[in-house]
């Protein structure tokens, strides 16, 4: 029953998306309002339908319906209810369905919230959003259906009696429920972590969220409304998508740190990079649209960036789901690879063709031109170049070089941490320097002297901070330069915020908290943005500290033996226990005591969970803001008398997570809805445009 319900809802959502796509385009081309509205209603129907389909699969997971092949492959009778929820996105089929649901959620939100204000853009926006949704629902329905069931065909030969189909084959009987439960496979051990309940949905929301600005941009190109309306309409959607993508990346890093057992949070794995690429292009886009909004410039470039962001999202999805790139993150090789590649290529080509067409017609003329070499516009363009350069070198290392090498030389190569640590640091450094300078420059033109004066206080604070850090611990040249650039960016954000609050206090006699609150409330975008910059600064400090100053050592200890790790820390191996968990894994736990300057700091219990298919190394960590003492149990003899530990001391690593929280807070402030007047203005403008169009 659940399978039938899910299948019917999925099929109906496919039909609804197709209908919405056709009606929206037809309505717009034929100027038939009724068709457009009919298309919109069909588009709105996709969300409840996909909610029903996803709900059916979730109920099947919770009620242990092992006849559904997906339920059988990702859960077993021992799987706790908590992980039955996460199993929804624990494998390709379920996660694609969940992906469709999040995409339809964004689509519904965009239609409902922008229908009145951006009426002229809506038909084509709906068409492009539905094209994307149609493709993914089609993938789920025809290639990766999560509602296929096991059947027994008694009349078939013995080796072909068990079949897996979506529809009931003639003469089929139900398989034995107990046998199905006994043979069910259970969730991938890597996914049995709290972080997995939130990391994938965040990443999916980030990925699919960029469909909305892309669809509006394409609608602008297709409809000819090439003003900044599409940017105003999608600014918040872009920020929301960027927020979720950032959150997904940060949570992914935390999950890797906790679960993958290698002492770090970013391994430059191709699939990690595939999620990072849209973030980089999306960040360039978020900065670049400000120039179009303020100065009416970079219209072609912004179109290109939104296309590149969507294209990066589609490529990332393809890289993760096709199995073309081997990674701890990627789903197994599947049939969706070629269709995804075709969809990615087709959408990108259509988008670029539309852009070229409008560009050649001269429809994307800038309203202003660059007047000074040193201006906020120029620095934003430089910022864009840095983000694009980062995108290019990361893409090259993750995909370009390995693919080209194999194609043209027949040699398989891997570009790993060594490559990325050679090519990315100079670009990240430039990014932080620009983050420090750009907010201080003025639109149109600024002078070096003026910029220098504005930089004086932040630079002074940076120098003082570097001096303090240098006095407390020795700094390498790399760390000094890195911290210098990162701190400058942070101090600029803080000084600008304090300066703004001080100006309010001077003119309105407000208290500091009130002045700050008013400042953030009245110009959310600027001060939310400063907070985001501060978050990126804190992340940067954490990354430099935990990369440059990380200590890593491996020690083998007998029970009761103590070893010195560095000048401060010692580690004692206290004991070992082995037990069998309810879900069938063997848990090997060591107990160790950590000493700092001779005093006991904490007792940790690193462990190895032995699953039938794979072992998982779960770290024991003592976390403080200053550093993490992170211990992995990497080997142990049968009796537990001797064990090998890998110990990491990760200075400032927690700043990566705290910086992430600040970034999220800043983005929320920048995104929070407030501007009602511009929306009204857009409604009036759009309606006036439509009246003129109808009259003409």
């Amino acid at each position: 029953m659940l399978a039938e319900l899910g299948l019917a809802a999925l099929a109906l959502s496919f039909v609804a998306a197709l209908y919405a796509l056709v009606m929206s385009v037809a309505g717009e081309r034929l100027h038939r309002e009724a068709l457009v509205i009919s298309g919109r209603n069909a588009a709105l129907a996709t969300f409840p339908l996909l909610l029903v389909a996803t709900g059916a699969l979730l109920v099947a997971l919770l009620t242990r319906d092992y006849q559904i092949a997906y339920v059988w492959s990702v859960t077993d009778p021992q799987t706790p209810d908590f992980f039955r929820f996460t199993a929804l996105w624990g494998s390709q089929r379920g996660s694609l369905l969940f992906w469709c649901l999040t995409m339809s959620l964004f689509t519904t939100g965009a239609i409902l919230l922008n229908w009145r204000s951006d009426r002229r853009l809506m038909p084509y926006s709906i068409a492009f959003m539905m094209a994307a949704l149609l493709f993914f629902v089609g993938l789920v329905l025809f290639l990766e259906n999560p509602f296929t069931r096991f059947w027994i065909l008694p009349a078939a030969p013995a080796d072909a009696q068990v079949v897996e189909t979506a529809l009931i084959p003639p003469g089929a009987v139900l398989p034995d429920a107990t046998r199905l439960a006994d043979t069910s496979q259970g969730l991938n051990p890597l996914l049995r972590h709290f972080g997995m309940i939130i990391h994938p949905p965040m990443l999916y929301l980030g990925f699919v969220g960029f469909t909305v600005p892309f669809a509006f941009a394409m609608a602008a190109l297709a409809s000819g409304d090439l003003s900044s309306n599409w940017i105003k309409a999608t600014r918040r959607w872009s920020l929301i998508a960027w927020l979720f993508l950032s959150l997904g990346l940060i949570l992914g890093g935390r999950w890797a740190y906790d679960v993958l057992g290698w002492g770090g949070y970013w391994g430059w794995d191709p699939v990690e990079n595939a999620a990072f690429l849209p973030w980089l292009v999306g960040t360039a886009f978020i900065h670049s649209v400000m120039i179009q909004q303020k100065r009416g410039m970079l219209k072609v470039w912004n179109m290109f960036l939104v296309i590149a962001t969507f294209s990066a999202v589609m490529f990332g999805t393809f890289a993760t789901r096709s199995g073309v790139i081997e990674s701890v993150h990627s789903f197994a090789r599947s049939e969706v690879g070629f269709p995804m590649l075709a969809f990615w290529g087709t959408m990108t080509l259509i988008a670029l063709a539309l852009l070229l067409w409008r560009w050649q017609r001269g429809d994307l003329q800038d309203e202003h031109h660059f007047t000074g070499l040193l201006s906020r516009e120029t620095l934003f363009v430089l910022n864009n170049i840095i983000f694009m350069a980062l995108t290019v070198v990361i893409f090259w290392g993750s995909f370009g070089a390995p693919i080209l090498s194999e194609l043209f030389t027949g040699t398989e190569i891997t570009l790993g941490v060594d490559y990325f640590m050679q090519v990315t640091p100079p670009l990240f450094l430039a990014m932080y320097v620009l983050m420090g300078i750009a907010p201080l420059s003025a639109w149109s033109a600024t002078s070096v002297a003026r910029l220098g004066r504005a930089l004086f206080v932040p630079a002074l604070l940076t120098g003082a901070a570097l001096l303090l850090i240098g006095l407390s611990s020795p700094l390498t040249l790399v760390a000094l330069i890195g911290y210098g650039a990162v701190l400058l960016a942070g101090f600029v954000a803080m000084v600008e915020t304090v300066r703004g609050a001080a100006a309010r206090r001077a003119t309105r006699r407000e208290s500091w908290p009130r002045a700050l609150a008013a400042l953030f409330g009245r110009n959310q975008r600027r001060y939310g943005g400063y907070l985001v910059h501060l978050g990126i600064t804190v992340i940067g400090i954490g990354v430099i500290g935990s990369t440059v100053f990380q200590l890593e050592t491996r020690r083998t200890l007998a029970q009761g033996e103590t070893t010195r790790i560095d000048a401060e820390y010692e580690l004692r191996y206290d004991g070992f226990e082995r037990g069998l968990a309810a879900d069938g894994r063997t848990i090997n736990t060591a107990t160790v005591t950590v000493f700092r300057d001779g005093a006991v700091v904490t007792q940790l219990r690193p462990r190895i969970d032995d699953y039938p298919d794979m072992p998982m190394t779960i770290a024991g960590a003592h976390s403080t803001l200053e550093k993490d003492f992170y211990v992995l149990l990497t080997g142990v003899d049968t009796a537990g008398a001797v064990a090998t530990f890998k110990v990491y001391i990760n200075p400032l690593v927690n700043l990566v997570w705290w910086g992430g929280l600040i970034l999220i807070l800043g983005t929320l402030i920048a995104t929070w809805p407030r501007e009602s007047a511009p929306e009204r203005a857009r409604v009036t403008q759009t309606l006036r445009g439509r009246r003129l169009e109808a009259a003409g």
């Binding site: 990674s327 031109h369 290019v392 090259w396 491996r554």
Partner: protein
């Protein structure tokens, strides 16, 4: 002179077995294993891989170090046996250049494209005159105050 050379040669001969059996720490192995990738499971550094084959390869690194092989020799040995995919940056000069030089060429290309576009923009019809320059700290403070008032 000949006696000195003979003494030196004898001393070196005495040292050779000691070098051949030098004490290898687990951190020495880690330093090399971190630079290698698991030859059978793509994109997992050898040091982080817990597969039995990888554990054996790590032991092999230890034995090679104890036998006096250098880091470069050990890495070259792995590349010779399993191919270029076992290292984070290819060893073969042509592939190494392709891997490391191309991204910088691409960055130069992106930058040159940006610069040319910018020059084109500058040559295009000039826009409205820039805002009047405000000089002096008092003027700047007033300018800042006005900007802030507009913003908030």
């Amino acid at each position: 002179m000949t006696r000195s050379l003979l003494t030196l040669a004898l001393l070196l001969l005495c040292l050779l077995p000691a070098r051949a059996q030098r004490l290898v720490t687990q951190d020495d192995i880690t330093l090399i294993a971190e630079k290698l990738y698991c030859p059978v499971c793509e994109n997992i550094p050898l040091d982080d891989c817990g597969m039995p084959a990888c554990l054996e390869w790590k032991d092999e690194i230890g034995r090679a170090l104890a036998a006096g092989q250098s880091e470069d020799q050990i890495i070259a040995g792995f590349v010779a046996r399993y191919g270029e995919q076992v290292v984070g940056v290819p060893q073969q000069p042509g592939l190494r250049a392709l891997a490391l030089v191309t991204p910088w060429l691409l960055v130069l290309l992106v930058s040159a494209g940006g610069w040319l576009t910018f020059r084109r923009w500058r040559r295009a019809t000039p826009g409205p005159a820039p805002l009047p320059a405000v000089t002096g700290t008092a003027g700047e403070a007033e300018d800042y105050r006005q900007r802030l008032e507009r913003d908030v």
